[in-house]
């Protein structure tokens, strides 16, 4: 998947500009950035919900913007929503089955096969215990799981996950990560938006950092997090300046020590 020169304007505001990066097959791309940096907007562009003002997202030789919203999943791209959207009156299992019926392999699946697939996925994401409850009755963490199950029901090659771990406790985050690793091992490319730095570092092969709608860094998790621009974006320029000042003071002190070692005066 190639994301090139994406710009997205809402009225007078550029939510995204000149964002480009490639997503390798089978990789896990972590998309991070402070609040309002354009992560969800980018997810919406990649999944075809928004048509970008400039640039394009190409996947499997097609421009996503040219594909109608309901056909994006047939290309092999699935996504979850940060603000969950279950079909409230349907049961949890039915919610997932709808994905299995109309997703990528839906045309080949009978109603029965779709329900069986839904049941499998519910067991994988840990929702089998509430399979027959109306989706409206699910707790928030369960709704997040349901989003993942619905997206997986589309049999995607690329899965976009928008803050599926928000609101989960430490154990649940560990379970979710294990689930995502498992999905990735089956050959599904993941693009993950998450605030939880620990989680994203542990799962991503590449991290892309957005700030104010621009890409400010890209690379392996450890090097990206050490980058001064990223630290500045997260902790503010004053913090960075203070660090620099401290470093300078430290350097001056070291210099002073070198010229006049304390032992010499003694």
């Amino acid at each position: 998947m190639r994301i090139s020169d994406i710009g997205m304007r809402f009225g007078g505001l550029w939510a995204l500009s000149e964002v480009s990066f490639d997503v390798e097959r089978g990789s896990v791309v972590g998309l991070i950035g402070p609040n309002g940096s354009g992560k969800t907007t980018l997810m919406n562009v990649i999944s075809g919900v928004y048509k970008p003002t400039t640039g394009e997202v190409r996947y499997a030789g097609k421009r996503i913007a040219d594909v109608p919203a309901y056909d994006v999943c047939h290309l092999g791209i699935a996504r979850t929503f940060q603000i969950v959207k279950p079909f409230a009156s349907l049961s949890t299992r039915e919610n997932v089955a709808v994905g299995a019926m109309y997703g990528r392999n839906g045309a080949k699946r009978s109603t029965r096969a779709s329900f069986e697939r839904a049941q499998e996925l519910l067991e994988i994401v840990g929702l089998a215990r509430v399979a027959d409850r109306p989706a409206a009755e699910l707790t928030i963490p369960d709704r997040k799981r349901l989003e993942v199950a619905k997206a997986l029901a589309l049999d995607p090659d690329v899965l976009l996950l928008d803050e599926v771990m928000a609101g989960l406790n430490a154990t649940e985050v560990e379970e979710a990560l294990e689930l995502l690793r498992d999905v990735n091992r089956r050959g599904v490319t993941l693009i993950v938006v998450e605030h939880l730095m620990k989680a994203i570092v542990s799962i991503s092969t590449t991290i892309v950092v957005l700030a104010e709608g621009r890409k400010i860094a890209q690379g392996a998790p450890s090097e990206v997090l050490a980058s001064p621009q990223v630290i500045e974006a997260y902790l503010g320029s004053r913090w960075v300046k203070r660090q620099e000042q401290l470093k300078e003071i430290e350097a001056q002190r070291a210099e002073a020590m070198r010229i006049q070692p304390p032992e010499a005066t003694a």
């Binding site: 999944s47 919900v49 109608p68 919203a69 309901y70 056909d71 994006v72 999943c73 047939h74 699935a78 996504r79 929503f81 959207k85 279950p86 079909f87 409230a88 009156s89 349907l90 049961s91 299992r93 039915e94 089955a97 709808v98 994905g99 019926m101 109309y102 997703g103 990528r104 839906g106 109603t111 029965r112 779709s114 329900f115 069986e116 839904a118 049941q119 399979a131 027959d132 619905k150 029901a153 589309l154």
Partner: protein, 328 residues
């Protein structure tokens, strides 16, 4: 259906089972009307037409969630299909119903392209507008007999029961179609659109396509009801074909019985027709007041209809609790 299948949730979105069985039982009993209660044949034939109309409305308004106020137009066109065939000397119920189904499905698909882009109130108003426009067009064209109407050839009185059975078949067909839709992938596409069109699109459902399918099915059922009604009535003019009753009653019936269920429209149609008939004789015009009261009470106390009430376990307390949940 095996219990194993039910365990994995393959029951579909048919609604309460008990209500469905009761409805099917009553439907079979209705077959006896011409032999047991010949005097009430006309009344029950009309009721069966309302049953079919309610089922037609339920597909678009109940399952797909697009509240149409224009389904009478399909009923009306159905009646004229029969009248026009009759005017050309073709007197065959199968031809009437066949033509009505084809014409209405096609008409709904064509009108649906622009109209189904609208949502909520706008869709409702557009359907009502379409219905009023078609009423005026039909009333002013000579081929439709203008406001003077058209005569529909009938069989002789001794064989009148045939119209009753035709209406029964159309109603039964409407129930069967609804049941099949609710058990199939199609039904789930409709409900997904009702619950959240954007989320449905993400799962690969083309909202436009399935809304048009839903409306075409809805229109075909209403048209078939119109065709047999016209034959039974023997005469068609705009005030009969496009009567407001055929528009409003099916909606109220479906809401009373339970939208988006297989038994709901039948339960609602039977109860309201019965009450309407009794009150209509006693109070004449006042019965429309009763309809208004029913709408208000149902919306307030039974937002999901009688069928849902039958399936409710836990008595009054659960009912009040779920009402609060519904309003929240």
């Amino acid at each position: 259906m095996s219990t194993a299948l039910r365990k994995i949730g393959l029951g579909g979105i048919t609604g309460n089972r008990t209500a469905l069985f009761i409805s099917l039982g009553l439907m079979v009993l209705l077959l006896l009307v011409p032999t047991v209660l010949p005097g009430y044949q006309t009344l029950f034939r009309t009721i069966l037409c309302f049953v079919a109309l309610a089922y037609g409305w339920n597909i678009i308004g109940g399952y797909t969630g697009y509240v149409s106020f224009g389904n009478m137009v399909f009923f009306g066109l159905g009646t004229y299909c029969a009248a026009l065939l009759s005017a050309r000397g073709i007197d065959n119920l199968f031809a009437d119903v066949g033509l009505a189904v084809v014409v209405n499905a096609a008409f709904a698909a064509v009108v649906g392209f622009p109209v189904l882009r609208l949502k909520g109130h706008y869709f409702g108003i557009a359907t009502l507008g379409t219905a009023l426009a078609v009423t005026d067009i039909v009333g002013n064209l000579d081929i439709f007999g203008g406001t003077g109407g058209l005569k529909v050839t009938q069989v002789d009185e001794a064989h009148f029961a045939i119209y009753y059975y035709a209406a029964w078949l159309v109603a039964a067909g409407a129930i069967a179609v609804t049941f099949l839709v609710a058990r199939s992938k199609l039904g789930y596409a409709f409900v997904a659109i009702r619950e959240n069109e954007d989320a449905a699109a993400v799962l690969g459902i083309s909202a436009t396509k399935y809304k048009i399918i839903a409306w075409a099915i809805s229109a075909a059922i209403a048209g078939a009801a119109g065709a047999v009604y016209a034959r039974g009535n023997g005469f068609v003019d705009p005030s009969i074909a496009f009567a407001e009753d055929f528009n409003v009653y099916p909606i109220v019936m479906t809401i009373l019985g339970g939208t988006g269920t297989v038994a709901g429209p039948f339960v609602g149609a039977l109860i309201l027709s019965g009450v309407n008939e009794t009150l209509g004789h006693t109070f004449l015009k006042l019965h429309s007041l009763f309809f208004g009261a029913v709408i208000v009470l149902v919306v307030l106390l039974l937002p999901r209809g009688l069928v849902w009430l039958i399936g409710l376990r836990g008595g009054v307390r659960t009912w009040i609790k779920s009402l609060q949940a519904y309003k929240a």
